[in-house]
């Protein structure tokens, strides 16, 4: 190896030594930096772990809160569904948010037909307008309001409903929506009406006793007292005349009392409805014979056109009362020389019995009062016969209880026709 080569080799060795030094330096530095980076990396990792722990913690809290909210919702739901009154709730814009079971049952719909709907999609238009108007008012003024309306329920009946609505607020006092509770007042209204009616009936009862019974009784007492004191001074024919009056008064009292008792018993529901097959011809004949003497006195022609052998399925006592009252009324309100005719025909579903007269007749206004217990209506007959106003009310009740109907056709001065229809029950 010559010097030149040797020199080149030495040079190369030196270069390699320097390169080695550089590499070693870089290696040392890099190792230190890797250590630092490792530290940083672990640091970052730890912070990520911290974030994970925090997230897990937060998740757990959220889960817990969710469970609490869930439980509260269940409580709310149970509470809502166990309330017997229909309840619903809306947002401030009038969108129905939900309802309870009672509401669904009352309207015969499922809750998904309520949620997210407006009043117009749930109720008929006219009702919806009312609800909408009330909601508007409540949203404007806040607080609570009540109103009454009539709602068609799933049972097919109109129910009288009082709706109580309250605005519910957020923490800041802003109105979020409306909670509504419905109270069905149909029964209580009916009860109230019945109570009022029975109160009137009681009043009528006392008025009849005090007024209609007292007069004939007074006449009876005065006449009998006079007879007791003076019968020796009176001629025989006078005595007979007065006794006739006494007898008539007693008869009227008897008729009145029997009506009154029957009516009182019917009011307390003690008259049983016991229909049997009745011979209508015979029955009407009996009634005509009872009224015949009065008719004769007024020279009124009283007749029956009912064919022999016509049978009817009805309660004997009730039908007797009805026809007796109708016939005696007809005689009462017919002038002498007038005519009263009883007739009956068979229709497909009904037996139609009519009592027609050509008497004084009734005005439209009077017809409306005839069958009402709460309006006292009593007119004297053409021969100043008194009445109680009770007869027709009994007729109405007894016909109705047998599933029939009673109607009046009349014209003032021309006469009246009372038509009774009773259901045919030939099959029984």
């Amino acid at each position: 190896m010559n010097t030149d080569q040797n020199q080149k080799l030495q040079q190369r060795i030196k270069e390699l030594e320097i390169e080695l030094r550089h590499l070693r330096n870089d290696y040392d530095l890099t190792r230190r930096e890797v250590d630092v980076a490792k530290g940083n990396f672990l640091d970052m990792l730890k912070s990520l772990e911290d974030i994970n722990v925090e997230l897990a913690d937060r998740n757990a809290k959220i889960e817990q809160q969710k469970a609490e909210i869930d439980n509260q919702y269940r409580l709310f739901r149970t509470l809502l569904d166990e309330i017997p009154n229909p309840v619903f709730y809306e947002d401030a814009q009038g969108n129905y948010l939900g309802c309870n079971k009672a509401f669904c049952q009352a309207l015969g719909i499922t809750s998904d037909k309520v949620e997210g709907k407006t009043a117009y999609e749930i109720f008929p238009r006219h009702d919806a307008e009312l609800h909408h108007r009330m909601d508007d008012k409540l949203i404007r003024q806040g607080g609570i309001l009540h109103y009454e309306t009539c709602i068609l329920f799933a049972d097919g009946l109109d129910h009288d409903i009082v709706i109580s609505k309250a605005a519910y607020l957020d923490a800041g006092g802003r109105i979020l929506g409306i909670v509504a509770v419905c109270s069905d007042v149909t029964q209580s209204k009916r009860n109230e009406l019945e109570l009022r009616q029975s109160n009137r009936a009681k009043d009528k009862f006392f008025s009849i006793i005090s007024h209609d019974m007292k007069n004939p009784l007074n006449a009876l007492m005065l006449t009998t007292e006079f007879l007791q004191d003076n019968h020796q001074d009176l001629t025989k024919s006078k005595v007979e005349d007065m006794l006739g009056n006494v007898h008539n008064s007693a008869k009227r009292l008897n008729a009145l009392l029997s009506n009154l008792l029957q009516w009182a018993r019917s009011q307390s529901g003690r008259i049983p409805h016991e229909p049997t097959h009745l011979d209508l011809y015979n029955l009407v004949e009996q009634i005509i014979s009872l009224a015949a003497s009065t008719a004769r006195e007024k020279s009124i022609e009283l007749a029956s056109d009912i064919p022999r052998g016509m049978f009817i399925y009805a309660d004997r006592q009730m039908l007797m009362t009805v026809l007796r009252n109708l016939v005696s009324n007809a005689v009462k309100f017919t002038q002498p020389e007038g005519k009263v005719l009883v007739n009956a025909i068979l229709l497909d579903d009904w037996v139609e019995i009519t009592v027609a007269d050509n008497g004084i007749g009734l005005s439209k206004a009077d017809i409306d009062k005839l069958f009402r217990i709460d309006v006292h209506y009593s007119t004297k007959g053409t021969s100043r016969e008194t009445g109680t106003g009770l007869g027709l009310i009994l007729c109405f009740e007894f016909v109705e209880r047998q599933g029939g109907e009673i109607k009046v056709f009349s014209e003032v001065g021309k006469g009246s026709t009372f038509r009774v229809r009773l259901p045919r029950q030939d099959a029984d």
Binding site: I18, R21, H22, D28, L29, V36, A37, D43, M44
Partner: protein, 296 residues
């Protein structure tokens, strides 16, 4: 409103102090806080990865530029790097620090307009090479991480950046004469001071650390720098020379100052064989910079 200096013709000269004041009132002045903040963070050994990522996240343009580099061809991440914390883990703490600093300094370069754009692009590329070269010398020769060297190299031409935007006549003259002259002589003639003075004065005014202002002010005359910190100034000088050799698009001196260069080599005990190796390394680093998208 920008006061253009036209000393050569009119004899009206703006003092260095006036120039610094004008810079401070300009857009560049508004970058001062950001640059100083990132400098102190980068050079504080106690800085944690969290602090760095927090700082970057408060600066959306910086954040997006770092993420762009993190997703560049060089790093070739299979996964998209979408967060600064991820970038720190993926690229390394030091790399992200360097990126943050470079991008912040890059903003200083972006304030130019029209005339000097071409030169500014070359100036940026040169500055990046000097930064990387200085760091390389520190690591290979002094077994030091070289963060300071990187910063010093990056900022050493701060004066030229200012000049390009506030003393356009110098650049205009330079362009007309096709880089034939010595920039410093030209500046001294037109302005009465040169870019070393400007950079040094601004670094002082902005309260940069001493090692940075020295390496800016004395990067052409390391022998004049204070004893303390001269090693860094000399390292920047050597890296400056190496960078000029491999990247010829920018050169503010017509010829290498051989005497100063040799003195630096001697003072720093760098053998010529080591310099050759460093030059080769720098050439490789240049390629890497291109791949990272850090060379324009």
């Amino acid at each position: 409103m920008q006061h253009t200096h036209n000393g050569a013709d009119t004899g009206q000269k703006m003092s260095l102090q006036d120039l610094i004041e004008q810079v401070n009132k300009s857009d560049i002045g508004s970058l001062r806080q950001n640059v100083v903040r990132i400098l102190s963070l980068v050079h504080n050994p106690a800085t944690s990865a969290h602090e760095l990522s927090d700082l970057i996240q408060t600066d959306p343009p910086l954040c997006s530029r770092i993420l762009r580099v993190a997703n560049s061809a060089f790093y070739g991440s299979q996964r998209h790097v979408g967060a600064i914390r991820q970038a720190i883990i993926w690229l390394g703490f030091n790399t992200v620090k360097e990126l943050a600093l470079s991008q912040k300094v890059f903003e200083l370069f972006q304030n130019g307009n029209g005339l000097a754009d071409f030169s500014l692009k070359n100036l940026w590329n040169h500055s990046m090479l000097v930064a990387v070269g200085s760091k390389l010398v520190y690591r290979r020769e002094f077994v030091l991480s070289g963060e300071e060297a990187f910063t010093a190299g990056l900022l050493h031409e701060l004066g030229l950046i200012i000049e390009a935007q506030f003393c356009k006549e110098v650049f205009a003259y330079d362009l007309i004469h096709q880089h034939k002259g010595n920039m410093r002589q030209l500046e001294d003639a037109i302005l009465g001071y040169n870019h070393c003075d400007i950079g040094g004065a601004l670094a002082k005014a902005w309260e940069f650390p001493d090692f940075i202002s020295s390496s800016i002010k004395y990067h052409h005359t390391p022998e004049l720098s204070p004893e303390r910190g001269r090693r860094l100034v000399q390292t920047v000088f050597i890296a400056d020379t190496l960078a000029t050799r491999i990247y010829k698009e920018f050169n503010d001196e017509p010829a290498e100052n051989k005497a100063t260069f040799d003195a630096c080599m001697r003072d720093l005990s760098i053998e010529s064989e080591a310099l050759d190796l460093l030059a080769k390394e720098l050439e490789k680093e240049r390629q890497i910079l291109v791949e990272k998208g850090l060379m324009l």
